[in-house]
């Protein structure tokens, strides 16, 4: 068998393979090191970090739906201090490539998070989550309450975060828009090195026996295989108009799913909810990508990026 290169460059970050995990589905990156060597992934992406620790929303926070799940975690996280002090040393010791996902309540908070992460060596790349559906009051969140739903805000936030860091900067977008190209182009104009998409789709599930919402927060974000076709379409839309790369995600649970995203134009992919089903899902996908390339006679995975025949 010839050597197969799985290496990609995601907006300045060299990844030994195009597979990372989706923020919020893999803790702080080291928890699962006993299931497999997490450093074998192209990168690990950590749970959204905020300046202060956050308790998150009240439970229940999880509700299953056909081929997917709703979550309303509300960004419970240890905050940047604890991350830098307690989590980072373990990640570094394991030699992980780190994408730090950040969340702020203003552009300045994002900028501060990015700056501190860079200064203290807390990340190899930064993913700014402008699209969390779970930090707002649900009754207000039905509207364009997310930064990622306003291209102007995306451009502004990106510019401000950009000016605070020289690390590769990814902007994570929401699928709850009419045209994903608009926020994607806005991120590019603002100076992003890549866009990450998609975050979860807003959704709701109701227990008809109690007549109550299954989530205490009423509304949650839909993830898992159910949303994959929506995500692939958005990656395809965005990749065709952007000059920066796309980090694709949404419902990936098999190597074939990951390849769909690459063919649609993603340079790398993130495995999210599938980890709940199989803790080593991301690693199995790395292996599957290798096998696919071997089977198809491809020696450099970059040949697949955007290679959809249409």
């Amino acid at each position: 068998m010839t050597d197969i290169s799985l290496k990609v460059n995601l907006g300045g970050l060299v990844m030994k393979n195009p597979v990372t995990v989706a923020s919020g589905t893999f803790g702080y990156g080291i928890e699962y090191d006993h299931y497999f060597k997490v450093s074998e992934l192209g990168a690990v992406t950590v749970k959204s970090l905020s300046l202060k620790p956050r308790p998150g929303n009240k439970p229940p926070r999880i509700s299953e739906t056909p081929a997917g799940l709703l979550n309303a975690i509300g960004l419970q996280n240890v905050g940047i201090e604890v991350y830098l002090k307690e989590k980072l040393p373990l990640l570094r010791e394991k030699n992980c490539t780190i994408i730090a996902n950040i969340y702020g309540f203003s552009p300045e908070e994002y900028a501060e998070l990015a700056q501190r992460l860079e200064k203290e060596g807390g990340a190899d790349a930064i993913e700014a989550n402008l699209s969390c559906p779970n930090v707002h009051d649900a009754k207000a969140s039905c509207g364009p309450a997310l930064v990622a739903q306003s291209p102007e805000s995306v451009a502004e936030y990106t510019r401000i975060i950009r000016s605070a860091t020289s690390l590769p900067l990814y902007i994570k977008l929401s699928p709850n828009v009419a045209d994903i190209r608009e926020p994607a182009l806005a991120a590019q104009e603002g100076g992003a090195d890549a866009v990450a998409l998609i975050n979860t789709l807003l959704g709701m599930n109701i227990d008809v026996e109690t007549r109550r919402p299954c989530l205490r927060n009423l509304v949650g974000g839909l993830s898992g295989p159910a949303i994959r076709p929506v995500a692939v379409k958005m990656v395809w839309d965005a990749a065709r108009v952007l000059s920066i790369p796309v980090l694709g995600m949404g419902g990936i649970s098999s190597p074939e799913d990951a390849i769909q995203f690459l063919l649609a134009g993603a340079t790398a992919v993130a495995v999210g909810s599938a980890t709940f089903r199989r803790p080593d899902a991301a690693l199995q996908i790395v292996k599957g990508l290798h096998d696919y390339c071997a089977r198809q006679g491809i020696d450099d995975i970059r040949q697949l990026i955007g290679a959809l025949e249409s």
Binding site: G27, A67, Q76, F276
Partner: protein, 267 residues
């Protein structure tokens, strides 16, 4: 140490209407399990349900362990279809089990409905470690739903029964029956069952000065500390410590740390 194992199903038999016991061969899990820990079972090869199902480990011995489950929805229905000889992928053991309390005089195990699942293993451990032969209080809807009565008796435990319809034992709620057992300051109560039952048992224990260790449930996505999905509200003052993960910090908690007024975590 948690493992991810393909386990062979040795049996999967009915123990009461809609209740089954599945015995699985999985040496590493059996070896490392402490009473009160749980596992995540893959109920099916397809994508629905998408998530694994959390189940308490009832007992573990040599190379095998068992789970006791009630068929309530699609996942448990699919579990019930599994045949001996089939393989089930299991992640476990997970969470922190019952902290064994040697300093107490009386050890009472209270199980409501399918909540008795983690208690047989706990009883065995208490006896094996020469701590006590626990007293057991079993609560169920009716006689045919009472589980494990004989198992506890054959361990030498005294067993008190209560049923909602009086078809076996007392016709009483578990907390009322427990009150008659007169728990005191030197009593530790280990309880697992519906939230409402655990809340009343907790309140009784606060009255009587007993220690109450409750095994909680929550809707789980990962079951293994990475998703933050399974939290319960605690009574801790600091805001950021308010929400703790049932899968990681529990499922067993000192009942004083739980905010029992927060509303049922599972709808």
């Amino acid at each position: 140490m948690t493992h991810l194992l393909d386990c062979t199903v040795l049996s999967n038999a009915e123990v009461a209407p809609e209740h089954r016991r599945m015995i699985l061969r999985g040496e590493a899990i059996a070896r490392d399990t402490q009473p009160g820990q749980f596992c995540m079972l893959e109920s099916n090869p397809g994508l629905i349900p998408f998530l694994r199902r959390p189940m308490s480990i009832e007992r573990s011995e040599e190379d095998r362990f068992s789970v006791l489950y009630k068929i309530v929805g699609e996942g448990t229905r699919l579990l019930s279809k599994i045949q001996p000889g089939d393989t089930v992928n299991v992640q476990g053991p997970l969470g922190k089990g019952f902290p064994i309390q040697p300093g107490y005089e009386r050890h009472i195990l209270v199980g409501g409905g399918i909540g008795i699942a983690p208690l047989p293993g706990l009883a065995e451990a208490l006896i094996r470690q020469n701590i006590a032969t626990p007293e057991v209080l079993l609560a169920a809807r009716s006689r045919d739903m009472l589980l494990c009565e004989e198992d506890f008796k054959s361990l030498g435990c005294s067993v008190l029964l209560t049923t909602d319809d009086g078809s076996a034992g007392m016709k009483a709620f578990a907390a009322d029956a427990l009150r008659e057992m007169k728990p005191h300051e030197k009593t530790v109560v280990y309880v697992c069952g519906p939230m409402i039952m655990m809340a009343t048992v907790h309140r009784l224990c606060m009255e009587t000065g007993s220690l109450c260790l409750a095994s909680l449930e929550a809707h789980m996505a990962c079951g293994d500390s990475v998703c933050m999905g399974c939290v319960v509200e605690t009574t801790f003052e600091e805001e950021f410590r308010r929400m703790v993960r049932v899968c990681h910090d529990g499922p067993v908690f000192d009942s004083r740390h739980i905010n029992w007024n927060a509303g049922a975590p599972v709808s």
